[in-house]
Protein backbone atom coordinates (compact mmCIF):
# COMPACT_ATOMS: atom_id res chain seq x y z
CA UNK A 1 0.00 0.00 0.00
CA UNK A 2 1.24 3.50 -0.80
CA UNK A 3 2.11 5.81 2.07
CA UNK A 4 -0.56 8.32 3.06
CA UNK A 5 -0.64 11.23 5.48
CA UNK A 6 -3.92 11.07 7.40
CA UNK A 7 -2.88 11.88 10.96
CA UNK A 8 0.22 13.63 12.29
CA UNK A 9 1.02 10.33 14.04
CA UNK A 10 1.56 8.70 10.65
CA UNK A 11 4.93 10.45 10.48
CA UNK A 12 7.84 9.55 12.74
CA UNK A 13 10.01 12.24 14.26
CA UNK A 14 12.58 11.60 11.52
CA UNK A 15 9.94 12.04 8.82
CA UNK A 16 8.75 15.30 10.40
CA UNK A 17 12.35 16.58 10.38
CA UNK A 18 12.74 15.44 6.77
CA UNK A 19 9.63 17.50 5.83
CA UNK A 20 11.15 20.51 7.64
CA UNK A 21 14.36 20.19 5.58
CA UNK A 22 12.47 19.74 2.31
CA UNK A 23 10.22 22.73 3.04
CA UNK A 24 13.29 24.90 3.60
CA UNK A 25 14.74 23.66 0.32
CA UNK A 26 11.51 24.48 -1.54
CA UNK A 27 11.42 27.89 0.07
CA UNK A 28 14.90 28.57 -1.31
CA UNK A 29 14.00 27.12 -4.73
CA UNK A 30 10.20 27.29 -5.08
CA UNK A 31 9.84 26.24 -8.69
CA UNK A 32 11.05 22.70 -9.20
CA UNK A 33 9.27 20.74 -11.92
CA UNK A 34 9.32 17.40 -10.13
CA UNK A 35 5.72 16.39 -10.94
CA UNK A 36 5.55 17.03 -14.71
CA UNK A 37 4.05 13.61 -15.36
CA UNK A 38 1.69 13.61 -12.36
CA UNK A 39 -2.01 14.34 -11.92
CA UNK A 40 -3.26 15.05 -8.39
CA UNK A 41 -6.88 15.16 -7.26
CA UNK A 42 -8.11 17.74 -4.77
CA UNK A 43 -11.45 16.47 -3.47
CA UNK A 44 -13.13 19.00 -1.20
CA UNK A 45 -16.35 17.49 0.15
CA UNK A 46 -16.46 20.49 2.46
CA UNK A 47 -15.50 23.91 1.11
CA UNK A 48 -12.17 25.44 2.16
CA UNK A 49 -10.70 28.10 -0.07
CA UNK A 50 -7.47 28.61 1.80
CA UNK A 51 -6.32 25.03 2.21
CA UNK A 52 -7.37 24.08 -1.32
CA UNK A 53 -5.55 27.02 -2.92
CA UNK A 54 -2.46 26.33 -0.86
CA UNK A 55 -2.37 22.69 -2.00
CA UNK A 56 -3.11 23.62 -5.60
CA UNK A 57 -0.40 26.29 -5.57
CA UNK A 58 2.05 23.70 -4.20
CA UNK A 59 1.12 21.18 -6.92
CA UNK A 60 1.38 23.80 -9.68
CA UNK A 61 4.76 25.01 -8.46
CA UNK A 62 5.96 21.43 -8.68
CA UNK A 63 4.73 21.24 -12.27
CA UNK A 64 1.90 18.78 -11.57
CA UNK A 65 -1.67 19.05 -12.79
CA UNK A 66 -4.79 19.24 -10.65
CA UNK A 67 -8.26 17.79 -11.10
CA UNK A 68 -11.03 17.77 -8.51
CA UNK A 69 -13.97 19.59 -7.03
CA UNK A 70 -14.43 22.26 -4.41
CA UNK A 71 -17.99 21.39 -3.50
CA UNK A 72 -20.03 18.27 -4.08
CA UNK A 73 -23.24 19.73 -5.55
CA UNK A 74 -22.30 18.90 -9.18
CA UNK A 75 -20.74 15.51 -8.50
CA UNK A 76 -21.95 11.93 -8.23
CA UNK A 77 -21.61 12.32 -4.45
CA UNK A 78 -24.85 14.32 -4.57
CA UNK A 79 -26.43 11.33 -6.36
CA UNK A 80 -25.61 9.18 -3.35
CA UNK A 81 -22.33 7.59 -4.44
CA UNK A 82 -20.47 6.11 -1.48
CA UNK A 83 -17.12 7.50 -0.39
CA UNK A 84 -15.60 4.12 -1.19
CA UNK A 85 -16.72 4.25 -4.83
CA UNK A 86 -15.67 7.88 -5.32
CA UNK A 87 -12.21 7.15 -3.99
CA UNK A 88 -11.79 3.95 -6.01
CA UNK A 89 -12.77 5.81 -9.15
CA UNK A 90 -10.51 8.81 -8.55
CA UNK A 91 -7.63 6.41 -7.72
CA UNK A 92 -7.84 5.27 -11.34
CA UNK A 93 -7.41 8.78 -12.66
CA UNK A 94 -4.69 10.22 -10.46
CA UNK A 95 -1.36 9.70 -8.70
CA UNK A 96 -2.44 11.18 -5.36
CA UNK A 97 -5.63 12.31 -3.61
CA UNK A 98 -5.78 15.41 -1.40
CA UNK A 99 -9.11 15.45 0.39
CA UNK A 100 -11.16 17.34 2.93
CA UNK A 101 -14.33 15.87 4.36
CA UNK A 102 -16.77 16.86 7.09
CA UNK A 103 -17.04 13.21 8.20
CA UNK A 104 -14.46 12.30 10.85
CA UNK A 105 -12.29 9.35 9.87
CA UNK A 106 -13.20 9.77 6.17
CA UNK A 107 -9.56 10.28 5.19
CA UNK A 108 -8.35 7.16 7.03
CA UNK A 109 -11.08 5.13 5.35
CA UNK A 110 -10.25 6.67 1.95
CA UNK A 111 -6.57 5.75 2.42
CA UNK A 112 -7.71 2.13 2.84
CA UNK A 113 -9.85 2.22 -0.33
CA UNK A 114 -7.37 4.11 -2.49
CA UNK A 115 -4.52 2.64 -4.50
CA UNK A 116 -2.67 5.98 -4.45
CA UNK A 117 -1.45 8.07 -1.47
CA UNK A 118 -4.09 10.10 0.36
CA UNK A 119 -3.31 13.41 2.04
CA UNK A 120 -5.86 14.47 4.65
CA UNK A 121 -6.66 18.17 4.26
CA UNK A 122 -9.01 18.04 7.27
CA UNK A 123 -11.63 15.54 8.45
CA UNK A 124 -14.21 17.24 10.66
CA UNK A 125 -12.75 18.12 14.04
CA UNK A 126 -10.24 15.28 13.84
CA UNK A 127 -6.93 15.82 11.99
CA UNK A 128 -5.34 18.33 9.63
CA UNK A 129 -1.72 17.18 9.47
CA UNK A 130 -0.43 19.52 6.74
CA UNK A 131 -1.49 22.44 8.96
CA UNK A 132 0.45 20.92 11.85
CA UNK A 133 3.56 20.48 9.72
CA UNK A 134 3.40 24.07 8.49
CA UNK A 135 2.96 25.20 12.11
CA UNK A 136 6.09 23.24 13.03
CA UNK A 137 7.96 24.70 10.07
CA UNK A 138 6.93 28.20 11.18
CA UNK A 139 8.10 27.49 14.73
CA UNK A 140 11.42 26.13 13.50
CA UNK A 141 11.95 29.08 11.16
CA UNK A 142 11.21 31.72 13.80
CA UNK A 143 12.83 30.04 16.80
CA UNK A 144 15.71 28.26 15.09
CA UNK A 145 14.72 24.97 16.72
CA UNK A 146 11.77 22.75 17.64
CA UNK A 147 13.06 21.45 20.98
CA UNK A 148 11.93 22.96 24.32
CA UNK A 149 9.59 25.62 22.91
CA UNK A 150 6.97 27.19 25.17
CA UNK A 151 3.70 27.57 23.28
CA UNK A 152 0.75 29.52 24.65
CA UNK A 153 -2.41 28.33 22.92
CA UNK A 154 -5.45 30.60 23.13
CA UNK A 155 -9.10 30.16 22.23
CA UNK A 156 -11.00 27.04 21.26
CA UNK A 157 -9.05 24.18 22.75
CA UNK A 158 -12.03 21.85 22.82
CA UNK A 159 -12.85 21.61 19.12
CA UNK A 160 -9.66 23.03 17.60
CA UNK A 161 -8.12 20.16 15.67
CA UNK A 162 -4.96 22.17 14.90
CA UNK A 163 -4.34 22.46 18.63
CA UNK A 164 -4.78 18.73 19.20
CA UNK A 165 -2.43 17.77 16.38
CA UNK A 166 0.14 20.35 17.50
CA UNK A 167 0.19 18.79 20.98
CA UNK A 168 0.75 15.33 19.47
CA UNK A 169 3.56 16.62 17.23
CA UNK A 170 5.32 18.57 20.00
CA UNK A 171 5.57 15.38 22.06
CA UNK A 172 8.61 14.59 19.87
CA UNK A 173 10.29 17.87 20.86
CA UNK A 174 9.66 18.26 24.59
CA UNK A 175 7.16 21.05 23.98
CA UNK A 176 5.82 23.09 26.91
CA UNK A 177 2.27 24.45 26.82
CA UNK A 178 0.11 27.09 28.44
CA UNK A 179 -3.54 26.62 27.56
CA UNK A 180 -5.76 29.69 27.74
CA UNK A 181 -9.49 29.24 27.19
CA UNK A 182 -12.89 29.83 28.70
CA UNK A 183 -13.96 26.82 30.82
CA UNK A 184 -16.51 25.82 28.15
CA UNK A 185 -13.74 25.35 25.57
CA UNK A 186 -10.98 23.85 27.67
CA UNK A 187 -8.73 21.08 26.41
CA UNK A 188 -10.47 17.66 26.40
CA UNK A 189 -9.33 15.19 29.05
CA UNK A 190 -7.92 12.74 26.48
CA UNK A 191 -5.28 15.30 25.45
CA UNK A 192 -4.38 16.06 29.05
CA UNK A 193 -3.84 12.34 29.51
CA UNK A 194 -1.63 12.37 26.41
CA UNK A 195 0.42 15.28 27.79
CA UNK A 196 0.91 13.54 31.13
CA UNK A 197 1.79 10.23 29.48
CA UNK A 198 4.51 12.00 27.51
CA UNK A 199 5.75 13.93 30.59
CA UNK A 200 5.03 17.22 28.86
CA UNK A 201 4.88 20.33 31.03
CA UNK A 202 1.56 22.20 30.76
CA UNK A 203 -0.71 24.54 32.69
CA UNK A 204 -4.20 25.87 32.15
CA UNK A 205 -5.53 29.34 32.80
CA UNK A 206 -8.45 31.55 31.82
CA UNK A 207 -6.26 34.68 31.90
CA UNK A 208 -4.49 35.56 28.64
CA UNK A 209 -2.03 37.90 30.34
CA UNK A 210 -0.85 35.52 33.05
CA UNK A 211 2.01 33.84 31.18
CA UNK A 212 2.23 35.87 27.98
CA UNK A 213 5.73 37.19 28.77
CA UNK A 214 7.06 33.67 29.13
CA UNK A 215 5.86 32.43 25.71
CA UNK A 216 8.02 31.71 22.66
CA UNK A 217 4.94 31.24 20.49
CA UNK A 218 1.39 32.51 20.92
CA UNK A 219 -0.90 30.24 18.96
CA UNK A 220 -4.27 31.93 18.50
CA UNK A 221 -7.35 30.03 17.34
CA UNK A 222 -10.77 31.04 16.18
CA UNK A 223 -13.82 30.22 18.26
CA UNK A 224 -15.77 28.57 15.46
CA UNK A 225 -19.45 29.27 15.28
CA UNK A 226 -20.16 26.04 13.40
CA UNK A 227 -18.84 23.93 16.31
CA UNK A 228 -21.54 25.17 18.68
CA UNK A 229 -24.92 23.52 18.98
CA UNK A 230 -25.93 26.21 21.48
CA UNK A 231 -25.60 29.64 19.87
CA UNK A 232 -26.14 31.36 23.23
CA UNK A 233 -22.94 29.75 24.41
CA UNK A 234 -21.15 30.97 21.26
CA UNK A 235 -22.29 34.57 21.78
CA UNK A 236 -21.14 34.39 25.39
CA UNK A 237 -17.56 33.30 24.67
CA UNK A 238 -16.75 34.64 21.20
CA UNK A 239 -15.22 37.93 22.36
CA UNK A 240 -13.52 36.61 25.47
CA UNK A 241 -10.02 36.12 24.11
CA UNK A 242 -8.87 38.91 21.81
CA UNK A 243 -5.17 39.66 21.38
CA UNK A 244 -4.41 43.39 21.23
CA UNK A 245 -1.14 45.15 20.41
CA UNK A 246 -0.70 46.69 23.88
CA UNK A 247 -0.73 43.21 25.44
CA UNK A 248 2.54 42.41 23.64
CA UNK A 249 4.63 44.83 25.71
CA UNK A 250 7.32 42.98 27.62
CA UNK A 251 6.95 39.75 25.66
CA UNK A 252 10.10 37.92 24.59
CA UNK A 253 11.93 39.41 21.59
CA UNK A 254 11.88 36.04 19.80
CA UNK A 255 8.14 35.57 20.42
CA UNK A 256 5.96 35.18 17.32
CA UNK A 257 2.18 35.02 16.94
CA UNK A 258 0.73 32.18 14.88
CA UNK A 259 -2.85 31.59 13.74
CA UNK A 260 -4.12 28.86 11.41
CA UNK A 261 -6.45 31.46 9.80
CA UNK A 262 -9.05 32.56 8.91
CA UNK A 263 -9.19 35.07 11.71
CA UNK A 264 -12.39 36.77 12.73
CA UNK A 265 -11.62 39.23 15.50
CA UNK A 266 -9.48 37.23 17.94
CA UNK A 267 -6.36 39.08 16.78
CA UNK A 268 -7.02 42.80 16.68
CA UNK A 269 -5.85 44.40 13.39
CA UNK A 270 -3.59 46.66 15.49
CA UNK A 271 -1.33 43.61 15.93
CA UNK A 272 -0.82 43.10 12.17
CA UNK A 273 1.95 45.71 11.88
CA UNK A 274 3.79 44.42 14.96
CA UNK A 275 6.96 42.52 13.90
CA UNK A 276 5.86 39.70 16.20
CA UNK A 277 2.81 39.03 14.02
CA UNK A 278 3.69 36.03 11.88
CA UNK A 279 0.37 34.56 10.70
CA UNK A 280 0.54 35.73 7.08
CA UNK A 281 4.10 34.42 6.65
CA UNK A 282 2.86 31.24 8.32
CA UNK A 283 0.26 30.82 5.57
CA UNK A 284 3.02 31.33 2.97
CA UNK A 285 5.05 28.60 4.68
CA UNK A 286 2.08 26.33 4.04
CA UNK A 287 2.82 26.18 0.32
CA UNK A 288 6.44 25.08 0.88
CA UNK A 289 5.39 22.57 3.53
CA UNK A 290 2.77 21.06 1.21
CA UNK A 291 5.32 20.87 -1.63
CA UNK A 292 7.51 18.93 0.80
CA UNK A 293 4.68 16.57 1.85
CA UNK A 294 3.57 15.82 -1.71
CA UNK A 295 7.05 15.25 -3.11
CA UNK A 296 8.02 13.09 -0.11
CA UNK A 297 4.92 10.86 -0.39
CA UNK A 298 5.32 10.51 -4.16
CA UNK A 299 8.96 9.58 -3.70
CA UNK A 300 10.36 12.30 -5.94
CA UNK A 301 12.42 13.80 -3.10
Amino acid sequence: MSKSLVSINDFTKEEILKIMDLAAEFEAHPNQKLLCDKVIATLFFEPSTRTRLSFESAINRLGGRVIGFSDTSNTSVSKGETLHDTIRMVSNYTDMIVMRHYIEGAARYASECATVPVVNAGDGSNQHPSQTLLDLYSIKKTQGRLEDIHIMVVGDLKYGRTVHSLIQAMAHFNGRFTFVSPPELELPEEYKIFLREHSMDFRETTDMNAYIRDADIIYMTRVQRERFSDLMEYERVKNAYILKDNMLEGTKPNMRILHPLPRVNEIDTSVDSNPKAYYFEQARNGVFTRMAIISYLLGVK
Partner: protein
Protein backbone atom coordinates in the same frame (compact mmCIF):
# COMPACT_ATOMS: atom_id res chain seq x y z
CA UNK B 1 -22.41 -26.35 53.11
CA UNK B 2 -24.50 -25.35 50.11
CA UNK B 3 -25.18 -28.29 47.83
CA UNK B 4 -27.90 -26.94 45.55
CA UNK B 5 -26.70 -25.41 42.31
CA UNK B 6 -28.42 -22.11 41.60
CA UNK B 7 -28.17 -22.77 37.88
CA UNK B 8 -28.42 -26.44 37.10
CA UNK B 9 -25.48 -28.36 35.70
CA UNK B 10 -25.19 -29.22 32.04
CA UNK B 11 -24.03 -32.47 30.48
CA UNK B 12 -22.18 -31.01 27.49
CA UNK B 13 -21.51 -27.44 26.44
CA UNK B 14 -20.02 -24.18 27.69
CA UNK B 15 -20.25 -22.39 31.03
CA UNK B 16 -19.38 -18.70 31.23
CA UNK B 17 -18.87 -17.69 34.84
CA UNK B 18 -17.87 -14.55 36.76
CA UNK B 19 -19.81 -12.16 34.59
CA UNK B 20 -20.64 -8.79 36.24
CA UNK B 21 -24.41 -8.89 36.88
CA UNK B 22 -24.99 -5.79 34.80
CA UNK B 23 -23.30 -7.31 31.77
CA UNK B 24 -25.38 -10.49 31.45
CA UNK B 25 -27.79 -9.34 28.79
CA UNK B 26 -25.07 -7.55 26.83
CA UNK B 27 -23.14 -10.81 26.62
CA UNK B 28 -26.20 -12.79 25.56
CA UNK B 29 -26.68 -10.14 22.91
CA UNK B 30 -23.10 -9.91 21.69
CA UNK B 31 -22.82 -13.70 21.42
CA UNK B 32 -26.01 -13.63 19.32
CA UNK B 33 -27.67 -16.30 21.44
CA UNK B 34 -31.22 -15.05 20.81
CA UNK B 35 -31.83 -17.21 17.77
CA UNK B 36 -30.20 -20.53 18.59
CA UNK B 37 -32.29 -23.53 19.64
CA UNK B 38 -29.81 -24.96 22.17
CA UNK B 39 -30.87 -25.00 25.77
CA UNK B 40 -29.49 -21.93 27.55
CA UNK B 41 -29.79 -21.40 31.30
CA UNK B 42 -28.57 -18.33 33.06
CA UNK B 43 -28.74 -16.64 36.41
CA UNK B 44 -27.84 -13.19 37.58
CA UNK B 45 -27.39 -11.33 40.86
CA UNK B 46 -25.98 -14.56 42.29
CA UNK B 47 -23.72 -14.48 45.32
CA UNK B 48 -20.01 -14.28 44.56
CA UNK B 49 -17.15 -14.13 47.06
CA UNK B 50 -14.92 -12.42 44.52
CA UNK B 51 -17.38 -10.05 42.86
CA UNK B 52 -20.21 -9.45 45.34
CA UNK B 53 -22.77 -10.50 42.77
CA UNK B 54 -22.25 -12.19 39.46
CA UNK B 55 -24.03 -13.73 36.51
CA UNK B 56 -23.51 -17.11 34.88
CA UNK B 57 -24.53 -18.51 31.49
CA UNK B 58 -24.70 -22.22 30.58
CA UNK B 59 -25.15 -23.19 26.95
CA UNK B 60 -25.84 -26.86 26.21
CA UNK B 61 -24.28 -28.75 23.33
CA UNK B 62 -22.28 -25.85 22.01
CA UNK B 63 -18.63 -24.88 22.21
CA UNK B 64 -18.43 -21.12 22.25
CA UNK B 65 -15.68 -20.43 19.72
CA UNK B 66 -12.44 -18.90 20.95
CA UNK B 67 -12.96 -15.80 18.75
CA UNK B 68 -16.05 -15.02 20.81
CA UNK B 69 -14.00 -14.84 24.01
CA UNK B 70 -12.64 -11.41 23.05
CA UNK B 71 -16.17 -10.14 22.76
CA UNK B 72 -16.99 -11.48 26.22
CA UNK B 73 -13.87 -9.85 27.61
CA UNK B 74 -14.93 -6.33 26.72
CA UNK B 75 -17.97 -6.64 29.02
CA UNK B 76 -16.59 -9.16 31.51
CA UNK B 77 -12.81 -8.90 31.75
CA UNK B 78 -12.78 -11.39 34.67
CA UNK B 79 -14.96 -14.05 33.04
CA UNK B 80 -14.00 -17.75 33.15
CA UNK B 81 -15.09 -20.06 30.37
CA UNK B 82 -15.40 -23.80 31.06
CA UNK B 83 -16.04 -26.41 28.40
CA UNK B 84 -18.06 -29.37 29.70
CA UNK B 85 -18.25 -33.01 28.53
CA UNK B 86 -20.26 -35.61 30.48
CA UNK B 87 -20.69 -33.16 33.38
CA UNK B 88 -16.88 -32.78 33.64
CA UNK B 89 -14.84 -29.67 32.94
CA UNK B 90 -12.54 -30.65 30.08
CA UNK B 91 -11.02 -27.22 29.36
CA UNK B 92 -10.81 -23.95 31.31
CA UNK B 93 -10.08 -20.62 29.70
CA UNK B 94 -9.93 -17.11 31.02
CA UNK B 95 -10.74 -14.28 28.68
CA UNK B 96 -8.45 -11.38 27.92
CA UNK B 97 -9.22 -7.94 26.59
CA UNK B 98 -7.77 -7.77 23.06
CA UNK B 99 -5.42 -5.03 21.81
CA UNK B 100 -7.76 -4.23 18.93
CA UNK B 101 -11.42 -4.78 18.27
CA UNK B 102 -13.28 -5.05 14.97
CA UNK B 103 -17.05 -4.85 14.53
CA UNK B 104 -19.13 -5.56 17.68
CA UNK B 105 -19.22 -2.03 19.13
CA UNK B 106 -20.46 1.20 17.59
CA UNK B 107 -18.18 4.25 17.67
CA UNK B 108 -19.69 6.82 20.06
CA UNK B 109 -18.95 9.67 17.66
CA UNK B 110 -22.08 10.18 15.50
CA UNK B 111 -20.14 11.85 12.67
CA UNK B 112 -17.51 9.10 12.51
CA UNK B 113 -17.23 7.52 9.06
CA UNK B 114 -18.22 4.16 10.58
CA UNK B 115 -21.62 5.65 11.46
CA UNK B 116 -22.02 7.50 8.15
CA UNK B 117 -20.91 4.95 5.54
CA UNK B 118 -20.88 1.16 5.41
CA UNK B 119 -17.57 0.84 7.25
CA UNK B 120 -16.85 -1.79 9.91
CA UNK B 121 -15.80 -0.09 13.17
CA UNK B 122 -12.23 -0.77 14.32
CA UNK B 123 -10.72 0.24 17.63
CA UNK B 124 -7.49 0.21 19.52
CA UNK B 125 -8.03 -0.70 23.19
CA UNK B 126 -6.28 2.12 25.08
CA UNK B 127 -7.27 1.05 28.61
CA UNK B 128 -7.74 -2.68 29.23
CA UNK B 129 -9.04 -2.29 32.79
CA UNK B 130 -11.79 0.21 32.05
CA UNK B 131 -12.08 -1.12 28.48
CA UNK B 132 -11.68 2.25 26.75
CA UNK B 133 -11.54 2.24 22.96
CA UNK B 134 -10.00 4.67 20.47
CA UNK B 135 -11.53 4.63 17.01
CA UNK B 136 -9.12 3.66 14.23
CA UNK B 137 -10.89 6.10 11.90
CA UNK B 138 -12.02 9.24 13.77
CA UNK B 139 -9.53 8.75 16.68
CA UNK B 140 -12.23 9.60 19.23
CA UNK B 141 -12.69 7.74 22.52
CA UNK B 142 -15.59 5.36 23.26
CA UNK B 143 -15.94 4.37 26.93
CA UNK B 144 -17.55 1.20 28.27
CA UNK B 145 -20.65 3.13 29.42
CA UNK B 146 -21.18 4.20 25.80
CA UNK B 147 -20.93 0.69 24.34
CA UNK B 148 -23.67 -0.10 21.89
CA UNK B 149 -23.56 -3.51 20.26
CA UNK B 150 -23.81 -3.82 16.50
CA UNK B 151 -24.01 -6.94 14.37
Amino acid sequence: MKTVLEVSAIENGTVIDHIPSGSLFKILNILELENITNRITFGTNLESKRMGTKAIIKISDMEVPQEALNKIAIFAPMARVNYIKNFEVVKKLSVSVPDTLEGSIRCANPICVTNQERVLPKFEVVDKEKVTLRCHYCEKITTQEQFEIIK
